[in-house]
């Protein structure tokens, strides 16, 4: 028998005494927390990420200000002009490593946990571009913010690769001292667009 058949047979043999039907209790929902956008901002900042709030008209200026003199890469359909920025057309990892910053959009923001989820559509780009540069400027629209994890799960398409980001990369591996920034972007700057 193949390993596959052996394993499946062993699984079936192990479970002859149980019925496969189990009632799974529904996961509870967090209570209404009021202003979701305010909660989102507070919780993103808790991770020592930087948050700037602005309206649509000021967005380009705010992003330019955050980038300053840094070199940057943008996804093919960011929907925002950034002077001097390289548009990703399949840059190699080494090429990305020579670029200081990346600007992307996002798919969902989760208020309860201060999480941003990218689904890597053309306004966010390939996974590599939001990973290799050291500064990630992530533009989140206030209308994209949902209350909690189940709301995000319901909106997201599992067929797409997803990256859930909660603050900058971090480690506590050395005497449990938290250090922000190891391999991923060491700085996460969230620009929240809304009224």
């Amino acid at each position: 028998m193949s390993a596959r058949d052996d394993i499946l047979a062993a699984v079936r043999a192990a479970l002859t005494d149980v019925s496969p039907a189990v009632a799974v209790p529904e996961a509870p929902r967090a209570p209404d927390r009021g202003d979701l956008v305010a909660l989102f901002v507070e919780r993103v900042e808790d991770y020592r990420a930087v948050v700037t709030r602005c309206n649509e008209a000021d967005l380009a200026g705010v992003v330019a200000g955050v980038l300053g003199e840094r070199s940057s890469v943008v996804p093919p359909a960011l929907g925002l002009e950034i002077a001097g920025s390289v548009v990703d057309d399949g840059l190699s990892a080494a090429e990305l490593d020579a670029i200081d910053a990346v600007v992307t959009r996002a798919r969902v923001g989760i208020a309860e946990t201060g999480t941003i989820v990218l689904d890597h559509q053309p306004d966010q780009g390939r996974r590599a571009i939001s990973l290799v540069p050291d500064l990630h400027v992530c533009i989140v629209d206030a209308t994209q913010v949902v209350a909690d994890v189940p709301d995000a799960i319901a909106l997201l398409d599992p067929a797409r690769p997803l990256t859930w980001i909660s603050g900058p990369s971090a480690t506590s591996d050395i005497e449990l001292d938290r250090v922000e920034g190891v391999h991923g972007p060491r700085t996460l700057h969230v620009v929240l667009v809304g009224p």
């Binding site: 189990v22 690769p161 859930w164 005497e175």
Partner: protein
């Protein structure tokens, strides 16, 4: 290069005795477990319906396990549809051979690795090394363990037994041997050490062709794998190489995409004590133009079907490796992870290892006794594994496995001897005399002194070894009460001891 190996580790009592003597280890562990425990308690308290969330999490995993064969077939079909290649491995050897074969097929002599319990369990790094393939651990703590030729001591923070000065020394001494050396001005500041790790590993990430990962969850209906991490080394491995090989225990399956909801809320709060961990990556097979274009998934048994057949113990397969049970365990806090002789230490290790491997070897058979049954582990477990009940059941399994022995187990010998001695007063007098003699010998050879300066017995030879191996037995007095009463005529002629 590989880290150390757990094979041939002494049984828990012996290993624990050594660990208890290591004060650095004990204070690091006490600090670590207390810190994580407090963080966990704070973020768990934030969730009003935490108990209901635990019930939902336990339900998701239990439902997946009870119909595991169906879900595995669904998972396989979904993965294949999404462009992945599925392999099945009955045991560690088969799994390692599959990974080695794939690496060879791509002509590489190195792979980068995301921290994964399953690949540690099967000894993948050592197996690849034997095939001439270097497996680079990229999690900071795993890298410290690997460079230090050491063993992990905690599921979540494997290098918790090392302090910053030791880590600096390991980096200075070893980084240059395997890649970009540590900078000359390396200090022992955690932020400086982390920066050195970033520079050292970036070179490896940028050139890696093949990556190896595990998965925290595998979603059957969508073929999605999930990796939960903090540092970004996981994202590097899952994104930059051309080929990705994920070794996934068959118990990692959940049925549907929405089942991830309670799990992703339970895991980070229970594990690192955060509302959410910095990075979670999910992928379903191959995404054209984004990330690895060749994706393999190795579904691993290696004892899981054995555990599944145990009607009390199978709940241990719900484990999501959060390590909350380690951090609340009074035994773990004092002995550390190495004493368990396995990549799965602490309360979960004390049940999972015997369930996966059986109790025929002494090392594994000693694990169900590495607990005081206080129940703290069950209280914190996000998937409600009743560890104390499984421990008791596994102790019974150990005893059962010795029923037919010609040389009985220590406890059995000790209990029989006690019953025989107490049943007759002359024998009791004899036993007391023998014990007094033993006491004098012990005072001469005993290694320890109890608080108050009283001599303590070290390890007893023979049937008593199992008992004294884990306890400092007060040395018996030279003269028993009964002997003293006889000699002094009830205390009337007492002029000191003989």
């Amino acid at each position: 290069m590989s880290g150390g190996t757990f094979v041939g580790m002494p049984a828990f009592p012996t290993a624990a005795r050594e660990a208890l003597g290591d004060t650095q280890l004990r204070s690091n562990l006490a600090h670590a477990t207390r810190t994580i425990r407090d963080k966990r308690a704070a973020v768990v308290a934030e969730v009003e319906d935490w108990e209901d969330l635990r019930l939902a999490g336990a339900g998701v995993k239990e439902a997946a396990l009870r119909d595991l064969a169906t879900h595995l077939e669904t998972l396989e079909a979904s993965l294949v549809r999404a462009g992945a290649t599925v392999h099945w491995a009955r045991d560690a050897e088969e799994a390692c051979a599959i990974v080695a074969r794939l690496a060879h097929a791509h002509g590489v002599d190195e792979v980068v690795k995301v921290k994964s319990m399953a690949t540690m369990e099967i000894g993948l790094n050592e197996a690849l090394e034997a095939e001439g393939i270097a497996a680079w651990e990229t999690d900071l703590a795993e890298m410290i363990v690997q460079l230090g030729d050491d063993l992990p001591s905690h599921i979540l923070v494997p290098a918790i037994h090392r302090n910053r000065a030791e880590i600096r020394e390991i980096f200075m001494r070893r980084m240059g041997d395997v890649g970009r050396p540590a900078p000359d001005d390396l200090t022992d500041e955690p932020v400086v050490l982390a920066a050195a790790a970033r520079a050292h590993l970036r070179e490896k990430f940028l050139r890696a062709k093949v990556a190896v990962s595990g998965a925290n969850f595998a979603v059957a209906d969508t073929g999605t794998l999930v990796v939960v991490e903090s540092e970004g080394n996981g994202r590097m491995c899952l994104t930059l190489p051309d080929v990705l090989i994920s070794v996934v225990g068959i118990e990692k399956v959940v049925a549907t995409w929405s089942d991830l909801d309670p799990m992703l809320r339970l895991l980070p709060r229970s594990s690192t004590g955060e509302r959410m961990n910095p990075y979670t990556s999910t992928w379903s097979g191959v995404t054209p133009g984004d990330g690895p274009q060749e994706v393999h998934v190795v579904l691993l048994d290696n004892g899981r079907t054995r555990a599944l057949a145990d009607d009390v113990g199978r709940q241990a397969l719900r484990c999501i490796r959060c390590s909350a049970c380690l951090n609340v365990c009074p035994v773990y806090e004092r002995t550390g992870g190495h004493a368990y002789g396995s990549v799965y230490p602490g309360p979960i290790g004390a049940i999972l290892n015997p369930l996966l491997r059986g109790v025929s070897d002494e090392q594994t058979a000693s694990l169900p006794y590495a607990s005081s049954l206080c129940g703290a582990c069950f209280e914190v477990c996000p998937v409600r594994i009743d560890i104390p009940s499984v421990l008791v059941d596994q102790r019974a399994a150990v005893v059962d496995s010795h029923r037919g022995d010609r040389v009985p187990k220590a406890e059995a010998v000790a209990m029989k001897a006690a019953a025989w001695a107490f049943s007759d007063s002359r024998r009791l007098a004899w036993a007391e005399k023998a014990s007094g003699l033993g006491g004098r010998v012990l005072r001469r050879f005993g290694r320890t002194t109890l608080p108050g300066g009283r001599a303590a017995a070290g390890r007893l030879p023979g049937p008593g070894a199992g008992w004294t191996g884990a306890r400092d037995l007060p040395a018996p007095p030279e003269e028993s009460f009964r002997a003293w009463w006889d000699r002094t005529d009830g205390g009337q002629n007492d002029r000191g001891t003989r």
